[in-house]
Amino acid sequence: MAAHKCNIFMLAFVLCGLTYVFVRADIEYTNHVKDAESGAVDIAPKTNIGASLQSTKTEDQTQTAEEERQWEAETNPADAPSDNKADHVHDTMQNLDSRPAPYAKDQTQEAAEEERQWEATEVKEADHGPDTMQTPDVPPPTPAKDQFQEELVIRPLHSGDIYASFQFRTMWDTDFLRGSKVSHYRLFPKSLGQVISKFSVRELHISFTQGYWRTMQWGQPFLPSPPGAELWVWFQDTVTDVDGAWKELTNVLSGIFCASLNFIDSTNTVQPSASFKPLGLGNVTDQRFLRYAVLPREIVCTENLTPWKKLLPCGSKAGLAVLMKSEKLFHSSFHSQALHFRPVCQDWKCKSTVWELRQTLNVVFDLHTSGQGKREWSLFKMFSRTLTEACPLASSSKVYVDVTDNPQGELFELSPTTPLLSQAVVLGDRRTYSVYDLTNQATFGQTRSLNMLLRWRAAESGDMLRPLLHGERYVAGYGLQTGEIHTLMYNNHPYRAFPVLLLETVPWYLRLYIHTLTVTSKGRDNKPSYIHYQPSKDRLRPHLLEMLVQLPPNSVTEVTVQFERALLKWTEYTPDPNHGFYVGSSVISALVPSVVAMDTNSTRECPLFSSFFPCKEESSYFMRVYTEPLLVNLPTPDFSMPYNVICLTCTVVAVGYGSLYNLLTRTFQVEEPSPGLAKRLANIIRRLRGVPLL
């Protein structure tokens, strides 16, 4: 019997081995075929054929490499460190092999630079042609500033979830404002560039978010965004018809991003006076040129991601963007993609400005739905892809992993390890990151792919630092007649009070009563030092309530305001009226006192994720918090009734009209009895017969 068992075992083993060999051979064969095909197809659009070929090849190999690695890890965990060492050696070897690729890249960049220099001088001539006196002051033409950076930050969250934040920055060195028509685009997406120059946009911020960021569980996001779609735009002060430009712009953006931004109209657009100041350069702060709108009902999905990815110089073909597979990105508890366009300083002297396009994508993968409940994350598990190369057009391409809470590796284990560590001041906190530089081939190791693995050692993570500022909102009251909006603002700072700006945009069909506004903290009335209130106009514009409130230390401040629910016309209801109506998130903007000194130098080289909000002073940092959107039910008419209602009401009016008409036009008369029918018939017959009538 034992021999029998042994035989069966052997047979199974042999079979497995054979299968493995066949499968490997098959994969390799298909890879070759695919290489040939994709090479043939991709030649045309690529500037660097070698790089593209290599990228596609490695991309396809990723799968097998990944399998291999996992298998290795399972069978022989003890060998892992030695393996990594071997990878290292192998990588250095490979670096020598892959010399030609960067060289080719340099060449193309040089060509691009030459071209740009030429264009730049031409523009200058056009500008300063007549006065030659100024020419000595003009610095020698700086090298091209169109550049592209990409980075990915991974932050393990205390809840066991994982937060991945992509940031792509494209700098656009152009001058579309001064009437010089830009027709040549390099890294900057043409579709967006044309729109921006046509509508004279100064700043544009757009975000699409699915899910709500749970601040108390996850801490602060690098870039906050409200659920649904948010769009705010600063126009140039040369724009005369701002409303018209805004209307057209929303429609165009709606087309570009396949989103329902065309539903932005005057009923959900506001002009906040203080909450949304320009984030880039420029001193135009007249709110006439600002438009802000939120569509809390917007559903974000693949069709919004694809056009967003297309704006990247490398698309989703190379670099960090290969990780963006929509079936994984949208299988998450939070997904937010955003695009920020603004003017920034070109260099530290800030003599000239460049336009910065920042595309960010934040995603939180759930421990249970995406991670199967195991506290173990890898790039492959998150995105079902691994990294194989940087975008060839990127001047920097990095992956950061937040290891602040894990200095000695007691909380989780990160592999492959990287010697590079970086410190950055983010949201008032000094964080430490392990950095993987994708432009360095050594990062990819032997397998030519980077698949970071984060494995938690401790089952329960330590305490999270509570966010200093936090907001919540809910609707109180019952019934469909009135209600009350409660906004709670938490200041968790133990001893510092700080002011916050609260912005509430409420649609017109919830009629706010501003005299019922109360602001209380610690049980006492807390009078706002500034209130900007714009009441709504029916079917025309929403309520806008902005106020500056001082939050006492370690307190909850509650803002309540009562509203009345309007009955709408039957055509104004959504197709599912009993689902309710959304009210966009309220926005809390604050300068929060910082524990560590903030970096006020905006032009210094620092990770992208830490440099979005400009910092004016060292002692505090800017923060924006979005509360939950609200879902409010309104009373509904019976939608099947229009004909009945028209008929019945008109009947009542007719009863009124009829009875009055009757009394007005007729007079009283003595009723003469009319003869019965039989009698009348008899009389007719009698008349015919010529006999006297009855």
Partner: protein, 435 residues
């Protein structure tokens, strides 16, 4: 006569004061039957709050009172309860005095007619006696002050009470024959809510009758007085509108008050016919039906004036009733005003055809309003159709009530000229029909 009236006023004020202090004072101002977007106290306070914030009260769509109201309450906001109680008392006293004076006139006329033997002999039982007429003014005041509708309206601090006071003062001035004051109060009432514009015709008729000027197109005295009265009316209206303009230095209030009344953008349920009709209206017919419904209020003025040109006070009653039924944002306070006149038409009682049915329906509907509102808005077990059905029934009952009184009035007049017991040609008892 002053003692019972004083007692009545004390009782009425006590009831209101008690209700103001009770828990109902929180509940009643939220009732859609009692307050409309036009006259809710909450909105007056909101307008004052907006003014304090430095925002024009007409910048939003919450405040629809006239500028004079907002300035009035700017000074008396702390005494609002007293103001509303005083407004009710004032209305009652004005109606009391007006009806008293009117009764005197009626009695005098009747005496002349009797002396001239103009009435048929069998009409003696239609002749009104001083004994019967003695308590009518008090009853009118009582009907106004103790009417639950008025009490609710007052406790809700609906500015409808103020409008009623203005209309009551207008009636008093008209009946007293003071054409200038009558024109001023009529202008004030028009300024407050457009619709009292239709009261111009009965006031003019009454004043002409009082001055013994016949309504005759050929007579210059008729035209002279008409022009004079119209000039006083339009002049004071103009002064009020200009004063409002100078108070806020903007014309925004015109669209926000009168545009709001006429175009009915706010479809908050009320006891009227507009809200559900225009919530369910097809968009491209909206303007047409708004015109039809608004014209309906003004439409009856001319035919009624022709028919009732000898009886302007009854015409005033008819007009007030029609306004309160067909106006765009009616409340129970409007109904209370015309119901206060019902005791003045006590003598028509024998000719009313369906007063029992109508009063039962009105009572039942008043009870059902809160019930069905609760079922729709709070319990969720009924829908809007339930509440709508009750508003329909309530309005049908009001229409029947008004047309019944109109019928009775006309019929009594007919009997006064043709005799009470009419005979057919063959001598049998005849029945009267409208032909």
């Amino acid at each position: 006569m002053a003692a019972p009236l004083t007692l009545l006023l004390v009782v009425a004020v006590t009831i209101r004061a008690v209700l103001f202090r009770s828990s109902l004072a929180e509940l009643i101002p939220e009732r859609v039957e009692v307050v409309s977007p036009l006259n809710a106290w909450k909105r007056v306070v909101e307008g004052l709050a907006l003014l304090d914030l430095g925002v024009s009260p007409y910048a939003g769509d919450v405040f629809h009172e006239t500028p004079l109201i907002i300035y009035f309450f700017h000074f008396v906001i702390d005494y609002a309860e007293i103001v509303f109680m005083m407004a009710d008392a004032l209305t009652a006293v004005a109606l009391y005095l007006a009806v008293k004076d009117y009764n005197k006139t009626v009695f005098r006329k009747q005496k002349y007619a009797l002396e001239a033997e103009r009435y048929p002999l069998d009409c003696l039982e239609l002749i009104r006696t001083p004994k019967e007429m003695y308590y009518i003014p008090l009853k009118v005041a009582m009907f106004y002050l103790l009417n639950p509708f008025t009490i609710l309206s007052c406790v809700a601090k609906s500015t409808c009470g103020l409008n009623n006071a203005v209309i009551a003062l207008f009636i008093l001035c008209t009946v007293k024959g003071s054409s200038l004051m009558s024109a001023i109060f009529l202008a004030l009432a028009t300024y407050q809510s457009i619709y009292p514009l239709t009261l111009f015709a009965p006031a003019l008729l009454y004043l002409l009758q009082r001055l013994y000027i016949p309504v005759n197109w050929q007579r210059s005295s008729f035209w002279l007085f008409t022009t004079q009265y119209a000039f006083m009316y339009l002049g004071s209206l103009c002064v009020m509108v200009c004063l409002s303009f100078f108070l806020l230095s903007s014309w925004d209030f015109l669209s926000s008050v009168y545009g709001f009344i006429l175009s009915v953008p706010d479809l908050t349920p009320n006891i009227g016919l507009f809200w559900y009709f225009f919530a369910e209206m097809f968009e491209h017919f909206r303007l047409f039906f708004i015109c039809v419904f608004q014209i309906n209020v003004f439409f009856y003025t001319i035919p009624l004036s022709i028919k009732l040109k000898e009886h302007p006070v009854f015409l005033i009653f008819m007009q007030i009733a029609i306004i309160s039924i067909f106006k765009s944002y009616p409340t129970v306070g409007d109904i209370a005003l015309y119901m206060a006149f019902l005791p003045a038409w006590n003598h028509l009682y024998r000719f009313l055809r369906n007063i029992f049915l109508v009063s039962v329906v009105l009572l039942a509907c008043s009870a059902l309003f809160p019930v069905l509102w609760h079922l729709w808005i709070y319990a969720g077990s009924a829908n809007s159709n339930f509440y709508y059905a009750i508003t329909l029934l309530f309005n049908v009952a009001q229409i029947l009530l008004v047309s019944d009184y109109f019928y009775a009035y006309l019929r009594r007049e007919h009997h006064l000229t043709h005799g009470l017991y009419l005979k057919r040609k063959d001598g049998s008892e005849a029945t009267l029909v409208l032909k």
